[in-house]
């Protein structure tokens, strides 16, 4: 059963099933972005024997919350399945894959649904800013693909291309994670019917040279906005496993918690924003740091300037207690982070370790992350040891690595008629993209 990750013991009559295939949207050519997603989603859109409605009815009697999604580096299927329906679930999945051949009208409908979802998602200015930032950072690189495609790319997808991609996806094995009290004999059926390989797939084979484009600004003019929605992203490269806890502490210190330095400065002390939040996300090829906030449009440029200054203070001056040249940042640079605040972060990180493995689902998630991203899985003791060993110097090194923003992209969604100059004046941007809507494939 080495290809299956299982955690038992919850005592619930329902199992949570997650199947991930090591192939994702980074493999879509830009002109066909969304192809992996369309191919994967089309699995449930009917076949030679069953219509989509018949399939829906069959699935309904077996499981709930059936979701298929494509991400950058994997395609995922998950569902909640009553324990006594698991065998039927596995057989149904096998039958659906063997039979899959959606009629053209279903594929047209699928593409229309994805275009509609895109439009609904882009109603939110924060979502638009994050998408634009991704596009700007990874300009010309498949990492910039939107997994579910863009209105422009979806127009060009056809059934035969999807069928080829679907065949690839269903043929490349996968990793099955199950949280639930599943007997061994049922696991054997799952392994056989779902084609779970004896060995875990190698997600890192997809890792390759990625090429972020640095110091770029993307602008999206929206006359209806009174608020500026701002997203900052940069590629961090691949951290060493032993550095993960130092990185976690640096992230907590700056921006991942309510009492972090940026939240304290810009929300609690200044009242400039409802929230400013950052996080470092790993992928098999490295990592991306993302920071986002929104604020009154009139003060957007000023706040972005201060946030950039804070990042510099962390990346370049952390540990030296120099006051930066931006007056608004004096307090940030003066915070005696080496002492109490670092200890606060260490305590918080240590005390929150039990949450990583609190439920069976949590433990499955940690073990799957370990295989996908090289984290420490459920090894809480190792995490605790590394946290205890972290020193101010090791956290400084991690912060310098994490907050080095030479490959940074910034995106702003706002009514820019009067405010664009403020953003342009902030930095020597290497490239400025002024038409966010076009860059995101909206036109």
């Amino acid at each position: 059963m080495s290809g299956i990750i299982i955690e038992r013991g919850g005592g619930l009559p329902v199992a949570k099933v997650r199947w991930i295939v090591p192939s994702g949207s980074v493999q879509d050519p830009r002109a066909s972005e969304g192809l992996t997603s369309c191919a994967w989603l089309s699995t449930t859109r009917g076949g030679r024997t069953w219509s989509r409605a018949q399939l829906a009815s069959q699935w309904g009697g077996i499981c709930r919350g059936l979701v298929l999604r494509a991400h950058d580096f994997d395609a995922e299927m998950r569902a909640d399945v009553p324990l006594d329906r698991l065998t039927s679930f596995a057989k149904q999945w096998r039958a659906v894959i063997d039979d899959c051949d959606p009629p053209p009208q279903e594929l047209e409908l699928l593409i229309r649904d994805l275009r509609g979802d895109f439009a609904l998602d882009f109603e939110q200015p924060e979502s638009r800013a994050a998408a634009l930032c991704r596009r700007v950072l990874w300009s010309g690189d498949p990492m910039g693909n939107f997994p579910d495609g863009s209105p422009a790319s979806l127009k060009g997808l056809h059934g035969d291309v999807m069928a080829r991609r679907r065949k690839e996806l269903h043929g490349c094995g996968g990793l099955l994670g199950i949280a639930g009290d599943v007997p061994d004999e049922t696991l054997a059926v799952l392994q056989q019917e779902m084609g779970v390989p004896e060995r875990h797939p190698d997600f890192f084979s997809m890792a390759r040279g990625i090429a972020p484009q640095g110091h770029r600004l993307g602008l999206w003019h929206d006359a209806t906005q009174e608020q500026a929605s701002v997203s900052l992203q940069w590629s961090t490269g691949r951290p060493e496993a032993g550095e993960l806890m130092n990185l976690r502490l640096a992230e907590m210190l700056l921006c991942s918690e309510f009492s972090s330095v940026l939240s304290t400065e810009f929300r609690q002390r200044s009242g400039l924003t409802y929230g400013i939040h950052g996080s470092h996300r790993l992928h098999p090829g490295g990592g991306v740091f993302q920071l986002r906030f929104s604020t009154d449009g009139a003060i957007g440029p000023r706040m972005l300037g201060e946030v950039l200054g804070a990042l510099d203070a962390f990346a370049r001056h952390l540990g030296s207690f120099k006051i930066t040249d931006r007056s608004g940042l004096q307090r940030v640079a003066q915070i005696p982070w080496e002492g109490q605040i670092l200890e606060d972060c260490r305590l918080k990180a240590l005390n929150s370790l039990p949450f990583l493995v609190a439920t069976e689902s949590d433990r499955v998630a940690r073990r799957m992350e370990q295989l996908q991203f090289g984290t420490m899985g459920t090894d809480i003791e190792k995490r605790a040891r590394l946290l205890k060993e972290a020193t101010p110097e090791s956290v400084v090194r991690a912060a310098q690595w994490l907050f080095e923003r030479q490959n940074m992209a910034v995106a702003v969604v706002d009514n820019l008629a009067e405010r664009k100059a403020g953003y342009l004046a902030l930095e020597q941007w290497s490239v400025v993209h002024e038409d966010g809507a076009s860059l995101c494939g909206l036109n």
Binding site: P13, V14, L55, S57, T224
Partner: protein, 412 residues
């Protein structure tokens, strides 16, 4: 110990809930999860934006923000700092609704008493000073701006404003900009003193804790608080009949059909919503989404189950070219003609309810929120979700005969 006797009840999925109250009127609900290393700690106040004065809207939500400021014992910022040091999962959080305000946190089970001590402190000792209020005003005005930039939030506010016109349910939870700008320590203090009383609150503890241990910790931290007021009645609701067209910066039109839902319990509402939407074989999905006539469909039961003025809402996002009036007619016709549950739907509904029951109680924070809501609305804790197909059919097919309001949001 200043407490009355435990009342123990069974809950969904073989779980149990223990209920008692302290002599000061504070309710305690405990649901143990023996294997869990963590505990969800939630304090529910049975007061929300529906209890506000129409001349000072937004005060319940503003106060929710101020509860994270200082107290007589802890300086500003200390609450979050201490909770985070304890390992609070995902930090601290709170939410305000029309009927209630809840403060939620998850900590390692060994820190239960420390978390309760902080909650008890801010129930009684909150400091509402002008400086911190001024800073928080900026944060809340920014939150208000965000909601004004969010078409989904605008739609939801417009919907409730129209359905509950001329009642306290009509105004937005965030309040009006005018009232937010006029908010003062005095207004907040009056609301706090009046409503944040032990008798109007429940402490909910779910996770790796023994009920008696939770009771001891709650009594030691909250037991000495005194307060005379009990539960406020829920704000009165009155569903309007009619229709309203609202223009917003939405990508696609959205049709909301709101039915008055008096007499429908939370569990019945859940069964109805699962039968109507949420998977491709649900009635509305099958009829409209699978046939390409809807982008998505949802059916949901909005607060105050069983009571007069509760609503059951069917929301449909329409693709380009779909006529809203025709859609409305077809939905009503479909509901009216709904006569029986075929065998495959019956099986599907059983699976849906089994999965739903597990989802409600699997994680400590979800179970605690479930219990908190039940307490606010005075509903019994269910041992199981009653599965009665004829009742579902009757309730669904009777929806069109109920008072209804139709709200259409179209692109501006």
């Amino acid at each position: 110990m200043s407490v009355k006797n435990w009342k123990q009840q069974s809950l969904l999925g073989g779980a149990s809930v223990w209920e008692t109250s302290l002599s000061n009127g504070l309710t305690l609900l405990v649901s143990p999860m023996a294997s869990s290393p963590v505990v969800a700690v939630q304090v529910w106040y049975a007061v929300g934006s529906g209890h506000e004065d129409p001349k000072a809207t937004g005060v319940a939500h503003f106060l929710e923000h101020m509860m994270f400021k200082g107290t007589a014992l802890h300086a500003e910022g200390e609450f979050d700092r201490i909770m985070e040091r304890m390992g609070a999962h995902g930090g601290t959080n709170a939410f305000t609704s029309k009927d209630y305000t809840a403060y939620v946190v998850e900590v390692p089970a060994s820190r239960l008493k420390d978390a309760l001590r902080l909650e008890a402190d801010r129930m009684r000792n909150l400091v509402l000073d002008a400086d911190s209020l001024e800073r928080e005003r900026g944060v809340i005005l920014d939150e208000k701006l965000r909601s004004l930039s969010d078409p989904e939030s605008l739609r939801s506010d417009s919907l409730l404003a129209q359905v509950y016109k001329d009642t306290s349910m009509a105004w937005p939870i965030l309040g009006t900009e005018e009232h937010l700008k006029a908010m003062s320590p005095r207004i907040l203090s009056d609301f706090y003193t009046r409503h944040y009383q032990p008798g109007g609150a429940a402490v909910v503890v779910v996770g790796g804790v023994d009920p008696d241990e939770a009771l001891r910790a709650t009594d030691e931290t909250f037991g000495s608080l005194r307060g005379s007021r009990g539960l406020e009645p829920l704000p009165p609701r009155q569903v309007q009949e009619g229709r309203h067209c609202f223009k917003a910066d939405v990508a696609l039109p959205r049709l909301d059909i709101c039915f008055e839902a008096e007499g429908i319990s939370a569990e019945e509402g859940l069964l109805m919503s699962k039968q109507l939407s949420g998977s491709e074989d649900a009635l509305l999905d099958r009829e409209f989404v699978l046939k390409g006539r809807a982008q998505d469909v949802s059916a949901w039961h909005f607060e105050a189950p069983k009571r007069r003025g509760a609503i059951f809402v069917i929301s449909i996002t329409l693709p380009e070219g779909e006529d809203p009036e025709r859609m409305e007619r077809d939905v009503i016709q479909l509901l009216e003609g709904y006569r029986d549950l075929p065998d495959n739907s019956l099986q599907s509904l059983k699976v849906a309810m089994q999965c739903q029951a597990s989802a409600m109680i699997e994680r400590p924070e979800d179970r605690a929120s479930f219990l908190g809501q039940k307490w606010v609305y005075g509903e019994p804790f269910p041992m199981e979700i009653p599965f009665d197909p004829p009742t579902v059919v009757r309730l669904v097919s009777n929806l069109p005969s109920r008072r209804r309001f139709v709200h259409l949001t179209t692109p501006s």
